[in-house]
Symmetry: C2
Subunit: 436 residues, 2 copies
């Protein structure tokens, strides 16, 4: 049996992009050749590579691989079965080469969240038209096999919600803000020094990178076409140490939280700062680790945690897709035929939720009454309220409110009314509380 299986033809990879992840994949293929062959029932080999600079010493022997300057040529090589796209970028060479590979009927494995978030539907259709598979485990949560868990492990479930912390840099900044009392700007600078930030830092701290990931999870979870443009995005730049401390006092942590759920009014996709209760597994997630919570109508809550980035973890996820293909395990890109994915109506924060509100009131009689009546008039009731002690000489009274669950629109109406009444001395801070 074994001899028969191993006698199958090798799976031949063409690998474009020799950065950290690309070299991590080469390392695994070179160092674990026997293990991979045993598990896949056939050898897994690299036949050709492409990258921007050929001469660079990358610490591994690449002399056995053909070199292509043009990733499109690599993707079209006769001797390549699987095109492994590790260049990055939502357009340009990554897109051109991926399209070329699929058009040639080659399978594609990519770690490129931006590419899939922007062109996922068209690429999935192209893959199926050409009887190819297109997989992207490494694009979503680093080493965590979350696409596999969702697409395959929970295939018998209606998915009710997916929640996750999927940007390690943001989580690092937020947990360090709480642990050290340092401000956002100082920690942003630290991350820049440590090399934790993307070339465009907005991809990290603006939530864009994590938003890309969320849009991919949403597609599989709800059988919808990827729609990154409909993700409600808010970064962590406006989070203050004061909010983190107040949240902590009340039993919460602030996280950049991705949430997607299908509501009666459409598909909700949010990547925004949220408060989560200290009892939540997400609250206990410190530093650069990722966590995704999958909720299914049969299985309940499945929590997955692991490294969200780095050479080994990301290469591990790329290899998971490659090994599936080597084992002839072929699943549609988004878990069902691309032509059956529906265009969902976007719903912005449609589900009611409790909110954390931080207000600074003018220190005058009647100010609080105006706040409470603004909330009451908009149908938002108060769960808890705290007024913090203030400096004798200050003319500002800081107030914290936790509301009962309310639609975001009602809360916004209440905030408008407070602002019109002239009792606020600064813009109010409103952060959703997500129960998970």
């Amino acid at each position: 049996m074994y001899a028969k299986t191993i006698a199958k033809a090798p799976l031949r990879l063409g690998l474009a992009g020799l950065g950290t992840v690309g070299m991590g994949v080469i390392k695994i293929v070179q160092e674990k050749a026997d293990l991979l062959a045993l598990r896949a029932g056939r050898p897994v080999e690299i036949v050709a590579v492409a990258a921007r600079s050929k001469g660079k010493d990358r610490g591994f022997d690449l002399s056995g691989y053909a070199w292509e300057d043009d990733p499109v040529k690599l993707a079209q090589r006769e001797d390549v079965d699987v095109f492994v796209e590790l260049m990055g970028g939502s357009d340009g060479p990554a897109k051109a080469a991926t399209e070329a590979a699929l058009a040639s009927g080659k399978d594609v494995v990519t770690a490129n969240k931006a590419l899939l978030a922007h062109h996922g539907q068209a690429l999935a259709l192209a893959a199926e038209t050409n009887n190819a598979v297109l997989r992207f485990e490494a694009a979503v949560a680093g080493g965590i096999p979350v696409m596999k868990a969702l697409t395959e492990g929970l295939a018998g479930n209606g998915i009710t919600r997916v929640v996750g912390v999927m940007n390690g840099t943001c989580n690092y900044i937020l947990t360090r803000m709480e642990a050290t009392g340092q401000g956002y700007n100082a920690l942003f600078d630290e991350c820049a020094r440590l090399g934790y930030l993307e070339a465009d830092p907005q991809l990290d701290v603006g939530g864009i990178d994590a938003g890309h990931k969320l849009s991919l999870l949403a597609s599989v979870a709800f059988g919808t076409q990827v729609n990154f443009d409909a993700v409600e995005l808010e970064g962590i730049e406006r989070i203050t140490n004061e909010d983190i401390a107040h949240a902590s006092d009340m039993g919460y942590k602030i996280k950049l939280l991705g949430v997607t759920q299908m509501t009666g009014r459409g598909l909700e996709q949010r990547m925004t700062p949220c408060l989560v209760p200290n009892s939540s597994p997400l609250a206990q997630l410190d530093g650069g680790t990722n966590m995704v919570v999958l909720e299914g109508d049969e299985v309940g809550q499945i929590v997955l945690r692991g490294a969200g980035a780095g050479m080994g973890p990301t290469a591990s996820a790329v290899m998971s897709d490659i090994m599936d293909i080597a084992r002839d395990m072929r699943v549609p890109t988004f878990g069902q035929p691309a032509a059956t994915l529906v265009e969902a109506t976007p719903a912005v924060a449609a589900a009611p939720a409790p909110y954390y509100l931080r207000l600074e009131l003018v220190d005058k009689p009647g100010a609080m009454a105006k706040v409470t009546s603004a909330l009451g008039d908009s149908g938002v009731s108060i769960d808890r309220m705290r007024q913090y002690g203030q400096d004798e000489n200050a003319d500002v009274a800081p107030v914290l409110i936790v509301t009962d669950p309310a639609p975001r629109a009602s809360l916004d109406a209440a905030i408008d009314a407070m602002q019109s009444s002239g009792v606020l001395v600064s813009d109010p801070v409103a952060i959703r509380i997500e129960k998970v």
Copy 2:
């Protein structure tokens, strides 16, 4: 594309065992027919069932399914593609019917940990000989897709260790002992009343059920033949509230912990009470939930958490295997061809670890000196020691020791020496501390 895909022949299931899990599977197949067909690219249907009592009202319409009294006959039916074994038991009808199905070239999905733990190697060989697949996701950690994560998601990793809490009843008893101060016996009785215990409670509290699961994880993790007999088993019956309180004081929780790792001296498989640091994700696991930690040389630590039992979660895991087969995704039972699985040398607690020791000493001068020299003579050094205040009139001095990492054999030698020296008034308690 969609029309073409959906036109594939239905996958026809024959389901033996109509208990909680069986009815959970029927519920999913009936209620989610469209969703399953969309995801699998073909309909998934039940064609025949078998159970002990035909007449019983089970709350679902079974009239569309053929009935077989004999599960072996069910397994051999011409119109069955996949035999779904949900009867349980390591031998008898479950084994006979599984063998019959495989011999007929039919795929088998089972939730039966005992069957696989005792006969996994023979059944995996039978499956491959007959070009059939045999999968068992539901046997290991309820709804958590852990076999999929390990076999497929981490296929590019050398696995270094697998650790888990995999018996919800034991975890419930231990966390309730800590939370309420109730003793083991009272909580055992409560579990019996609540129906949390297997018919033979030793399967739960003796660690046997969890040991079965561990032996299956070990096989996939290390490419070894399942060897349940080599699992070091110890139940939770001897854990006292005193130990839980002392452990808590020192920053630990006591868990019934499964650990498997390949050491220089062989394969270690343990299912025993252990202390885990409060900072460990395992320490935060309360009640009946399961958690498995997979450690890979590329991916680092992946933590998976979810419901370890119950109708929906277990049926979800069974459906995961069924959907894989419906999608033509066929992976060897233990992740590589059965003939290539090696017979590992069992190693009992070979890796050195710190231990928690609770001793009751005679209250006489020199007693402590005998304890410390017994440890020192065996090469076991002391990390921390506490002597608790004692009743004026008592003639017993309770002492807690946390050792530095030491081989179990050295610790046992030290304990023997203490016992011979006559300073102990009771059997010492020694619990391994697992860093995870």
